[in-house]
């Protein structure tokens, strides 16, 4: 979805509500109470105390909304983030945190932005040339512009990459810099991001959310749009590939990566395949992705895993995230990888003192954007300077970036004498591990707190993409703001929020158009489905269906029990049908014991957190898998999954009545139906949808067989058969078809053999065979593959059988044949099927 599409959503607030208040007074109230720290640059007010750049326009426009309305808009933005499941993880912490979008955007006017962009473009070009020299001719070191130790001492100087010419000609398809303002008010670079910069996806999400919450401001203020940048980035990557219609993958470390959600969002937005290392295979010197149609060549990889994990053959041999042999592919020019492995060496803090001279040497230009003054202590002069100016310098490791709390401590500087004494000792021992830096506190921007504007430190990550027409800068940024003064916002963690960045154009901006001037080749599918995605979609479907089966059993049990009580005042909970349901729930692991009271039993089967087979556990498992499918599922499904969870979860100690539990089950079934509807109506009916649907169908077929074995045997009671009909959701259809009471064979025919009943086993098999027919075959020999023959055999059995043939033995056999079919599908299509071979390390001191 583009920002412009977001504009169309949601009604505009009633304009008459704004006039009731006084906008001018409101704006005065906001700005007069605003007090940035003296001596620090601030975004809202400049050194003279005047409002900077675009802020007057923005605040005037914002002040037309009264305080309540502003708060309501911020709330709606937060709600959207929760519903869409936008989240991140903190390094070293497994939990997902909802994305903390700060309230106000950072507003920058066109002139200010143009100056910053020009600096970014120059710096990006310089970085590209430096990294090319480091891994190539090595002139900068030989001529003394760059000390060997700065390069050799950085863990991202990857020696196996030395001598490789980057396929496509680029080291850095994407470059980013963290910037802020120095005390003099000029922009400065706090850090270069060249390895695998994150934040583009979050910048995009921030924009969508904020543009939706403030559509009126957004349109009136001529905010620069983002899609053009992303198109250019994609085009740049595509242009560096050999083939004209390249397959591009985004290589992730997986759902536990701290920025997985943004990676999935970017893959979806840019039309890249989201893959993990296992999905890629090197064959014949080229890179391939495992798909359900076999290995398919991959032209380019946008790398979001750290380079030293990229290739266990040449880099870290213990890496499980990488692609064995990919460096050799690069050496042969067989695939484009962006950013090239080894680019991270440019992130060294020790590079900065040498940049101005390198810029003059390589480009003949002065460096437009510099960082805080820095000295590398491996240089004897740098060491002397550091030792004699320790009081106003910060010591930082040259090679390893500091993480959040460490950074706070470092920035605190002189306050930590013990830490400094330690640092000085280390400095004398191995001076080349350190840089000394003149560090001022970060510049500030306004944040909205309880109806007031407060000045808070921020860092802004600006992105530049290499395109055939040169560097192109994203006209926005990934901005992070600290909630309190003195905290360092460089890394997302508790107490840090993010903010959209609005670059205000002086003239109306072009609304990005979806109509391309050049006609693309028409296609109806987005390319071959990766095996891993097929696997996940299949299991997503299975877990949803499992949840549904448990819920239907719970409902059946509640129904039977209520009727039994009505029929027999002694409270005959031990009626055979109820016992059979309890036994099945126990067998499925949905309850811890089969002899719980009716309400406790239903409560545990629905909402149990400690039983693996409760409806809640299955729902959560589906959600976990969905997290790996973010780029493939309809966006609304995330919300439906959250609703399902919220419906099933209840607080410790709550003792619901049976009626309440019945209602809970009913609502949960409603959310599951909504999910089915979304999958069916909102997913393209291509291979991905087929796997999700097959998962659901095979699970339903297996469960229906299980039900029939227990409630539709030769000895089944009327009560059993009633339960069977309700589990197959077929009571009404049965009533319409048969005027007499329940008959075993009639029920069996309806639940197992009737191809027109969407709940029958036969219907599921029919759907599965149709899916398998539509999926690609591996060999073009015209023979059906093994798993398809299995499915066909099952379909024929059902078509040629009568209800009387389906006794217990036949049902049992059929259920195990279905399991066999599921395994057959897994072996054929999935990377982790039962026949898969996991790569093991070849070990041993030889």
């Amino acid at each position: 979805m583009t920002a412009s599409a977001a504009l169309a959503d949601g009604p505009l607030p009633d304009a008459s509500a704004w006039a009731a208040d006084d906008p001018a007074a409101r704006m005065r109230r906001w700005t007069e109470a605003y007090a940035p720290r003296p001596g620090l640059a601030d975004e809202l007010v400049d050194a003279e105390g005047a409002l900077r750049g675009g802020w007057p326009r923005f605040l005037e426009r914002l002040a037309r909304l009264d305080d309540r309305e502003v708060a309501a808009r911020f709330l709606s933005a937060e709600r959207h983030i929760r519903d869409a499941g936008i989240s991140y993880r903190v390094y070293g912490d497994g939990r997902e945190h909802p994305w903390p979008l700060g309230s106000l955007p950072l507003v920058i006017d066109a002139a200010d932005w143009a100056e910053l962009s020009a600096g970014i473009v120059q710096r990006a070009g310089l970085m590209e040339r430096i990294v090319g020299d480091i891994y190539g001719a090595g002139r900068l070191v030989a001529e003394g512009f760059l000390p060997a130790g700065v390069v050799a001492g950085h863990p991202e100087f990857l020696r196996p990459v030395h001598g490789i010419a980057p396929p496509g000609g680029r080291w850095l398809p994407i470059y980013a810099a963290d910037v802020g303002r120095g005390p003099d008010g000029r922009w400065q670079v706090l850090a270069d991001r060249t390895q695998a910069p994150s934040g583009l996806g979050y910048a995009l999400e921030n924009r969508m959310v904020l543009a939706r919450a403030f559509p009126d401001l957004f349109a009136d203020l001529h905010v620069e749009r983002l899609p053009g940048f992303f198109q250019a980035f994609r085009a740049g990557l595509a242009a560096s590939c050999e083939r004209s219609d390249p397959r591009i993958c985004l290589l992730t470390s997986g759902p536990y990566s701290s920025t997985y959600v943004e990676q999935a969002a970017l893959a979806r937005y840019l039309g890249f395949l989201l893959v993990e290392g296992d999905d890629l295979v090197v064959r014949d010197g080229l890179l391939h992705v495992r798909t359900i149609a076999g290995l398919k060549r991959t032209d380019a990889v946008w790398r979001r895993i750290d380079a030293d994990y990229l290739d266990p053959m040449e880099l870290r041999s213990d890496s499980r995230l990488g692609v064995p042999g990919i460096l050799q592919v690069l050496r042969r020019g067989g695939a484009v990888v962006g950013n090239m492995p080894g680019s991270g060496v440019l992130e060294s803090a020790a590079l900065s003192p040498y940049l101005p001279a390198i810029a003059r040497r390589l480009t003949g230009e002065e460096l437009r954007l510099t960082g805080p003054r820095t000295w590398w202590c491996g240089d004897p002069d740098g060491l002397n300077h550091a030792l004699s100016n320790l009081d106003h310098l910060t010591l930082r490791p040259a090679a390893t970036p500091l993480r959040g709390p460490e950074r706070d401590a470092m920035l605190a500087g002189p306050a930590l004498d013990a830490a400094r004494a330690h640092a000085v000792a280390a400095l004398r021992e191995r001076p080349f591990d350190w840089v000394a830096q003149e560090t001022a506190p970060l510049s500030t921007m306004p944040a909205w707190q309880d109806g007031r504007l407060v000045a808070r430190p921020f860092v802004m990550r600006v992105f530049a993409a290499a395109t055939p027409e040169g560097w192109r800068v994203l006209p926005s940024a990934f901005c992070r703001v600290a909630e309190r003064e003195g905290a360092d916002p460089s890394e997302m963690r508790a107490g840090i929020r993010s903010a959209d960045v609005w670059v205000l154009s002086d003239t109306p901006v072009d609304t990005p158009t979806l109509v391309h001037t050049s006609a693309p080749r028409i296609r109806r599918i987005a390319g071959h489905l990766p095996s891993r995605a097929a696997d996940n979609l299949f299991w997503f479907g299975r877990y949803l269906e499992r949840a549904e089966a448990v819920i239907r059993l719970v409902q059946a049990h509640l129904g039977v029990f209520t009727e039994a009580v009505a029929a027999d005042a002694s409270g005959e909970a031990g009626a055979p049908t109820a016992l059979a349901i309890r036994a099945l729930l126990k067998e499925w692991g949905s309850v811890s014991a089969a002899d719980l009271g009716p309400a406790a039993l239903a409560g545990e089967a629905l909402s149990g957190k400690t039983v693996h087979g409760s409806a809640l556990s299955h729902g959560l498992e589906a959600r976990r898998i969905a997290a790996s499918l973010r780029e493939r599922l309809p966006a609304e499904s995330w919300r439906a999954l959250a609703d399902l969870r919220d419906t099933l979860v209840y607080a410790e100690g709550w003792a619901p009545t049976e009626a309440q539990l019945f209602g809970k089950a009913e609502r949960a079934l409603g959310h599951l139906a909504a999910l089915s509807g979304l999958i069916h109506e909102n997913m393209g009916h291509a291979a991905g949808w087929r796997f999700a649907d097959m998962g659901r169908r095979i699970e339903r077929a297996i469960n229906t067989c299980s039900f029939a074995l227990r409630f539709c045997g030769e000895e089944a009671s009327a009560e059993d058969l009633g339960v069977m009909l309700s589990l197959a959701d077929s009571q009404i259809a049965y009533g319409a078809r048969y005027l007499v009471g329940v008959s075993r064979d009639a029920v069996c025919d309806m639940a197992v053999l009737d191809p027109n009943n969407p709940r029958s086993v036969a219907y599921q098999i029919q759907a599965i065979t149709a899916h398998l027919d539509a999926l690609p075959a591996l060999a073009a020999d015209g023979l059906p593959e093994a798993h398809r023959r299995r499915a066909l055999a099952l379909a024929v059995t059902l078509q040629t059988s009568e209800a009387a043939d389906f006794d217990a033995e036949a049902l049992e056999r059929f259920e195990s044949d279905l399991e066999g079919l599921a395994n057959g599908i897994a072996s054929r299509y999935f990377p982790n099927g039962p026949d898969a071979l996991r790569p093991e390390k070849l070990t041993g001191l030889a």
Binding site: A142, A148, L837, P839, K841, G844, A846
Partner: protein, 298 residues
């Protein structure tokens, strides 16, 4: 001295391996006092693909891809190498360790023998304060780098116990240091960690050592082993391009009894064989090494 070297490695797998890719680093290094006269490699099963490459540190690496299903993989490397190195420098020769530390860093070179690569922590040799403290004892201010390193080598030999059961191929140096035990790889890693902790350029060398059969007994086939030691860069004017080999396992300065295969930052750079196999089962590794000096050829 001319040696014939034979290094036979066999992997036996419990389950069939359908695909394997591996790096072989088995060809002895040419230059710096040694010359490779012959070198051959026999591999079974026959690889589908083989690719030869010289790595960053100048080591010949052969990358093999095996597509054929197999239960056993053997690699036999046979070579003849002539070794003739100068006598070790006199004790306490060469510049002070502080001078060496600064000189190494000041060289404007990122070439494979440039000492700057070897002054920093590496994948298998992180710096460890305890090991650095241990090494510091041998490096009072102003002492010759070479002299200090020789003393450190003596101390490791005295303080550590050779025990093949105490460590494995992946034991970190800090752990071997705490145990004061291990094998040649551990001693080399510990010594390197100590030297680098002080900022000195120290490299890991893999190769072979001449052994002498007990008097009157014939040499037993396959009874030798691959070996590892340390090279310290002692200043350009010393040794071969500045590098002097020190063997903490045997407490000696490297001369004609050591045959160098590779020099890297640590074991990970020079592992004779590594790679991946696609297999669900376990593997069993056996290694046979023969180091036969030609004057002994029977």
């Amino acid at each position: 001295m001319i040696y014939t070297l034979r290094h036979l490695t066999t992997y036996r797998y419990a389950r069939t391996v359908r695909f394997a890719r591996c790096n072989l680093r088995l060809r002895p290094r040419d230059g710096e006092g040694q010359r490779v006269l012959e070198s051959a490699l026999h591999v079974a099963p026959e690889p589908t693909r083989r690719l030869e490459r010289r790595d960053f540190f100048g080591l010949d690496t052969l990358t093999l891809t095996l597509d054929e299903p197999h239960r056993e993989f053997t690699v036999e490397a046979v070579s003849r190498v002539a070794v003739e190195r100068p006598a070790p420098p006199p004790p306490e020769a060469g510049p002070s360790w502080e001078t060496v530390r600064a000189a190494a860093l000041a060289l404007p070179s990122l070439g494979p023998d440039g000492p700057a690569h070897f002054q920093f922590p590496s994948q298998r040799v992180p710096l460890d304060p305890a090991v650095t403290e241990y090494a510091r004892t041998s490096f009072p201010p102003g002492r010759s780098a070479y002299g200090g390193a020789v003393e450190l080598m003596h101390r490791i030999r005295d303080d550590f116990r050779f025990d093949a059961k105490a460590t494995t191929v992946s034991t970190p140096p800090a752990e071997a240091f705490a145990l004061r035990a291990g094998v040649c790889q551990d001693f080399a890693h510990v010594m390197i960690a100590g030297l680098r902790g002080l900022g000195l350029p120290a490299a890991y060398v893999s190769g072979y050592l001449r052994t002498r059969p007990p008097p009157g007994r014939p040499r037993l086939r396959g009874a030798d082993a691959s070996h590892a030691w340390v090279a310290l860069w002692c200043g350009l004017e010393m040794g071969e391009g500045g590098w002097i080999g020190l063997d903490p396992t045997n407490d000696c300065v490297v001369r004609d009894n050591h045959i160098v295969v590779a020099r890297g930052r640590d074991y990970a750079d020079v592992a004779p064989i590594d790679g991946i196999v696609a297999s669900a089962g376990s593997q069993k590794l056996t290694v046979e090494v023969d180091v036969i000096p030609e004057d002994e050829a029977a």
